[in-house]
């Protein structure tokens, strides 16, 4: 059982500020203007707003109980932090085989080719009290809670 990010589709305004603040949270400077206008390559957002007509919601790694991505990772780059921690990805050990992307049932892992070929995924802003996407959602369409799953 762990805290996860849940999306409330019915109040997602599709503004994509979650993506913007995810980029800032994973930038060098943590300054929104510098992160976007001065940092190259710019980090990828690890959350993605999925849209279909008026429906939209932010999707990020579900941090599965039994993660197929860890199973599929041949280098151990994809790993779980402790027994009930988030599923994290170690860029240094990643060889960019992208098997994790192939097996992820949610499509929550992205290809990152900004520096070298690796995978990119949500780390729940590890170490922070609340992930940046949740903290900055203007309509509270993202919540961070333990639902006993």
């Amino acid at each position: 059982m762990m805290k996860r990010v849940y999306a409330k589709e019915e109040v997602c305004a599709g503004c994509r500020l979650c993506e913007v603040w995810c980029v800032v949270a994973h930038s060098q400077s943590k300054n929104i203007i510098k992160a976007f206008n001065e940092e190259f390559p710019r980090p990828l957002p690890r959350v993605k707003v999925e849209e279909f007509g008026p429906f939209s919601f932010a999707l990020q790694c579900r941090h599965c109980q039994d993660p197929p991505c860890i199973e599929a990772c041949m280098t151990g780059a994809m790993h779980r932090e402790g027994l009930e921690g988030p599923v994290l990805h170690d860029a240094d050990r990643c060889v960019g085989c992208w098997m994790c992307i192939m097996v992820c049932p949610y499509g929550a892992i992205a290809r990152d080719e900004t520096i070298k070929k690796i995978a990119s995924k949500c780390d729940l802003c590890y170490g922070e009290e609340e992930p940046a996407c949740v903290a900055h959602c203007p309509n509270e369409a993202l919540v961070y809670e333990d639902r006993g799953e």
Partner: protein, 504 residues
Amino acid sequence: MRFSYIEPEFLVERRLERCIRCQVCVRQCAFEVHTYDEASDTVFEDSSKCVGCLRCVTYCPTDALIVRQNPTTFKENANWTGRVIKNIYKQAETGGVLLTGMGNDRPYPIYWDHMVLNASQVTNPSIDPLREPMELKTYLGRKPDHLNVSVKEGKVKLETKLAPQLELRIPVLFSALSYGAISFNASKALASAAYEFGTYYNTGEGGLHRDLYRYGERTIVQCASGRFGVHKDYLQAGAAIEIKIGQGAKPGIGGHLPGEKVSEEVSKTRMIPVGSDALSPAPHHDIYSIEDLRQLIYALKEATRYEKPVSVKIAAVHNSAAIASGMVRAGADIIALDGIRGGTGAAPTTIRDNVGIPIELAIASVDQRLREEGIRQQASIVAAGGFRSSADVVKAIALGADAVYIGTSALVAMGCHLCQICYTGKCNWGIATQDPYLEKRLNPEIAKERLMNLLRAWEHEIKEMLGGMGINAIESLRGNRLHLRGVGLTDSELDILGILPAGR
């Protein structure tokens, strides 16, 4: 008309050094002011489409946007102002009636700002509401002419059967905002806030969505000239029924919900076809006299077994006092008066800006008239139309109102920026819209919390003001005009308001 002479009302400015091209503004503007050009990685703006709702400014994560009044002016002219010229251009280009939303924005005198309240000094003690009990509970409905009590073996028993009453935690209710004019989420927020706080909201003439029946005991259901959504279950669902004769924003004309806003759900609730304009007639065609009004009042009372108070709402007009007297005699338990600054989802601009009288004068004259005729206790007075703060509420109570309806203040609490384009159905704040893209922008949970916070804040402030006057119950202030003094008013205005000038 291919070419318009109308200059943009606002200028949208982008501070390029702060813009991160995240395109939040592009996605949030339903009027398509902002567009992104991928080739040049630039966001462009078309100021002519801007309505000044400030959605983009509020959502811009880097404060890169500034929306301001277009400084371009016409040659100065006290008679032919820019507003007047633009309106003529608009009509010359369209040949249509000018439409608008929200309340009158013309600079008529706001009498609340010309009345000041009293406070206790030396000769009578003021009360600290944080240390002593303070009663704001308000009952709306017909009060008995006298009370019969019997005493048996030392126990006192009330023999008089009391008429049904609405019980309010504070003398503030949410006014009639119809589902259709506002989104389902906005209706739900109003309903749930009223329910949780302990006041009432009003359905307006849009019927009651099936998912809102559970808030029925805190709902005033309206029966207007179009009879939209009125049926047996609807009448029985509410705590009170309101017959809407008129609306402060558009006295003398009926309601108008543009077909664009009549979605599937609105159509089901209003019982009209999808996409059809919901035009309610100017008068009720079964009410051409006080006697006719009496018939409808009693038909509704009969239909609901005399268990619910019946309110009659009129726009404040020149002879409101005489009409109100007739309404009370016709059997109304509550009289709702809507002043010239009352809001709307859609009204012809010329009607909104020129018809009706200020609510302050209407409260004073109606209260006075009913007192003189000895029938004031037969009905409660609820005032509406532009109440902006707890001070306005306190002054209205002192003038003689029993409670106050707030509409615009409630919308503003939910996020409304008063851009006055409700009639387009493109409200970027998700309030006055039925567009599924826009509707979900209003989170009903957040909106409910904001509404309840506003009511709580006003509750505290009303208590503070009462305490300052040395009063510990709102009942003691009701119609107590000695607590008001006028500043900068003429003798006849003071006379109508029934108050003394400051200093006397």
